[in-house]
Symmetry: C2
Subunit: 330 residues, 2 copies
């Protein structure tokens, strides 16, 4: 039996300090954390971008990641999608009494690893412990500040722009669903959970005409395209046959009746690019995921709608997702 | 019956958008929120201070406040204690399926009111919905960025400095405890939950020799003084008779055997001040709370310890709090 988190560890006193020092500081320490008092002094921050994300995923550990990796990658990806380099992160833990300390440490180690990929630091944190039955193990909030190096924004999207996807879709959603339901597959599906800063850094350095990026998390590709279509009052036309999908993901979607376009991704993004640069951007994306693809273009045909064209020439609207889809996916 | 939050409202799709637009944006909208994409562009931030706090308090509504007021006040107070003006806040909601929409709106209204006291803005947010039994109603994370106007820090504390308290102590802890246990008192105890920026602003403008401020939340005054004593390797000597305590709070502490020095406050802080300015600082504090008091001084007598002197001349160490104290106080 591993030792576990007690209510006393959330008391603001001795046990609280011990939990933080022995596990959190041990792995995540840096000069910011060391000098933190009620808050942490960052000094001047240029071109700041600010974001927040809470994670309540179940299961906490899944094929391809865990809640720790997901929290850091998820928050940093939000910054990267805006053209910002992740810099300073805060960690807010809500932990259930009885949660294993070894599991907690495993999560903190994942956080550390993902931070180093983003070259970012945890600069402040907070830990609350709630009684058994008031939380599913652990919830994590990550808030993050980045420095914007390049202005990627949906405001730049115009007709004739090309729509690209950075890799095959729906892997995170399909993986979590299969894991939760105990579905056994010949090839276990691994979540795409990963930090996108590495890719975005190259996109920024390329100087290509990239308009907007967005990671297709909750609500999937369908939610991203619909949000953009509504905001820009433009039509987003995509070709079904061009949407990259692994066989095992297609399989699980067909069996269960899920539309892969609404399933969550956690390391796959949609990019809108000036038509002159679509192939060059694709080339960069393929260095990181060979399944990256140009999937469509922006038009004025049906403003505020997403149009899905099949191989046989039929066309239908792809709606903004609604209903429960898959709760607790992130 | 009020309408309630559904799992679908956490899906990243239509219902999610509706919840945010109809309740959160309706009350909290500003140009930052309106232009937010994956993150929010803040531009250059000077002398930034960054903090995070998660709130899991029960009950959610209490005499003197609610989880919404507490979240904003708590995070902003962390900044104020560092000498920083609160500027930009993020909100991370974790809501239990079935939570009343009217209660949610009441919390959002409290957030709005407390923001205006701090002259601060919500610039980004995140909402997750978890199934019944996976959260006690609602948990809130607030992360906040402020601009540091004056360097209040424990690093400046020296022997002979005076220790002040901004008002009578232990009201938040006593109020929550009484409310939770259904204890009926002649004078119902009201939490001290409040935003300290108003007071701190005057302290900054005074130009007086103020070294450090710290709000005495979880672990109370005892935790603050012990942390400072350990960090500075100095002795913090306080006089028991000078510690302001309301009769009804003293009463509940005596009946239940609580030490008011370890009970949480949410709008009361400890200040360490150069000895030449103690009376002048006291005068400012008393404009906001007539119970403010000079309670002791910093010495070299017992490094890393807090010394409590009784009216009768006896002396004892006040230890760092340990054990469960009062879980879920913030």
């Amino acid at each position: 039996m591993q030792k576990s988190v007690t209510l006393a560890m959330g008391n603001g006193g001795i046990e609280n300090r011990e939990l933080i020092e022995k596990i959190v500081f041990r792995h995540l320490k840096n000069s910011f954390l060391q000098n933190a008092e009620d808050g942490t002094v960052l000094g001047d921050v240029k071109n700041a971008v600010f974001t927040t994300d809470s994670f309540t995923i179940t299961p906490l550990f899944f094929k391809g990641g865990d809640i720790g990796k997901l929290s850091v990658a998820g928050a940093c990806n939000d910054l990267a999608m805006m053209g910002a380099k992740p810099l300073f992160l805060t960690l807010g833990f809500i932990i259930e009494e009885g949660f294993g300390l070894r599991d907690f440490e495993r999560i903190v180690r994942s956080i550390k690893k993902e931070l180093s990929i983003n070259e970012a630091f945890i600069v402040a944190g907070d830990t609350k412990v709630v009684p058994k039955g008031s939380c599913d193990g652990i919830y994590i909030n990550v808030s993050a500040i980045g420095e914007r190096l390049r202005e990627f924004t949906q405001k730049k999207i115009e007709p004739n722009d090309k729509i690209l996807i950075s890799g095959d879709i729906a892997r995170h959603g399909a993986s979590i669903f299969a894991g939760r339901e105990g579905i056994e597959l010949e090839n276990e599906i691994e979540s795409d959970c990963s930090s996108l800063w590495v890719v975005v850094k190259e996109l920024i350095e390329s100087g290509l005409n990239i308009k907007a990026l967005r990671d297709a998390t909750r609500g999937g590709v369908a939610a991203v395209l619909n949000e953009w279509a509504i905001d820009r009052e433009l039509c987003f036309e995509i070709e079904e046959a061009k949407i990259p999908l692994r066989d095992e993901v297609r399989g699980i979607c067909e069996i269960l009746g899920f539309d892969p376009l609404i399933l969550a991704n956690e390391g796959t993004f949609v990019a809108v690019v000036g038509e002159e640069d679509d192939e060059k951007v694709l080339e960069i994306l393929r260095k990181f995921n060979k399944n990256a693809q140009i999937i469509g273009e922006v038009t004025k045909e049906y403003p505020k709608r997403v149009l899905l064209k099949s191989e046989w020439g039929t066309r239908r609207f792809l709606d903004m997702p609604s209903g429960e889809i898959l709760p607790r996916i992130c």
